[in-house]
């Protein structure tokens, strides 16, 4: 059986796909939209910036890509 070529994910509440083998760093590059400061949660845990390039995404991962905004 050939391994799947894409990963089904949920990113910021909506279904998304990335190539198999993608890391958190790939996700951030795709999603950060020019924001310098980004924090990532994967399945309810923080992925520290230092681990972005080594953390591979898995099928079904639920991810949040967040950035600073104004707030009370």
């Amino acid at each position: 059986m050939t391994p799947p070529t894409t990963l089904p994910l949920t990113v910021n509440g909506t279904p998304a796909e990335l190539p198999a083998g993608s890391t958190v760093a790939v996700l951030v590059a795709e999603r950060s939209g020019g924001h310098d400061q980004v924090a990532v949660a994967r399945n309810g845990d923080v992925v520290p910036r230092s681990s972005w390039t080594t953390t591979e995404l898995a099928a079904g991962d639920v991810l949040e890509v967040l950035t600073p905004t104004a707030g009370g």
């Binding site: 020019g34 924001h35 950035t67 600073p68 905004t69 707030g71």
Partner: protein, 274 residues
């Protein structure tokens, strides 16, 4: 309306008083006792003017999904203003959510300070005491400097302080309501009950509310809507700055007792018979 003459330091005497009476929070010293929330302003230019007029040195910020945020400009403005950042956990409903949001805030903002908010009711946005204390205990154990938004209950305040929170931040009334301090007696009791700073957080509507908070013994005031949703946010920011200073000075000066009847302020001795 822009009023540049008001944004300059309009009160050097107050500035000297500020410098002589610093506010210490978790080992950090601030000369301003006004903490400003950043939500609700129409533009980043407006944010900068408001931050500068308020004299604040500590502002709350939040995290949201990248698609919902326009750009980096807020962080550039706050960096230029030289203020310290206090990430919040606004919108969290459970201890689990709040703890994760605090960890994400630490990652994004590079600070372990957190304004801990755990909301228990959609309509009033009142804190959920049980979840709040749970989250506070977890975050203190993880090394966070925890500043919890809480009810004005002195017993809960003491529990939060006992849990290791760096301050206790009671509401005056619900967030954004502008109803002022509904139970001044509880705020004064809470001030007596805890050894950590008390920051009046939420409900401030206008300058007199902020002054009252300080007169009741609060160490600082945190407000957002009262400034950001005022008709002239910059002018209101300056008003809040002076209100906090005035209230602090009045607290230290010692107010006169309330009397049922008048007491003349001009001596009766030497009064002419006319």
């Amino acid at each position: 309306m822009t009023t540049p003459e008001l944004t300059a330091d309009a009160a050097p005497a107050l500035a000297r008083e500020e410098a002589a009476d610093p506010f210490t929070l978790a080992g950090e010293t601030f000369t301003s006792r006004l903490v400003l929330g950043t939500g609700g302003l129409p533009s980043m230019e407006s944010l900068e003017r408001v931050v500068r007029a308020s004299g604040t040195q500590l502002v709350t910020v939040a995290l949201r999904r990248v698609e919902a945020v326009a750009g980096n400009s807020m962080m550039q403005v706050l960096d230029r203003c030289g203020v310290r950042l206090l990430p919040n956990t606004a919108g969290c409903r459970t201890a689990r959510e709040a703890v994760l949001t605090a960890r994400l805030g630490r990652e994004a903002f590079g600070t372990d300070w957190v304004k801990l908010e755990v909301i228990g009711d959609e309509q009033t946005l009142l804190p959920d005491a049980v979840e709040l204390l749970d989250a506070a205990e977890q975050l203190v154990a993880e090394g966070f400097t925890v500043l919890p938004y809480t009810t004005d209950d002195p017993v809960l305040g003491r529990r939060l302080a006992d849990a290791g929170c760096a301050a206790v931040m009671p509401l005056g009334s619900p967030i954004g309501s502008g109803l002022g301090i509904r139970n001044p007696h509880n705020i004064a009791l809470l001030r007596e009950a805890v050894p950590v700073p008390v920051v009046l957080d939420a409900g401030i509507g206008t300058a007199s509310d902020a002054a009252l908070a300080m007169e009741l013994g609060c160490d600082a005031v945190l407000l957002a809507s009262a400034v950001t949703r005022a008709r002239d946010p910059e002018r209101m920011a300056l008003a809040m700055r002076h209100a906090v200073e005035g209230g602090r000075l009045a607290r230290g000066a010692g107010r006169i007792p309330r009397r049922w009847y008048a007491q003349e302020s001009t001596a009766m001795q030497g009064r002419p018979e006319l």
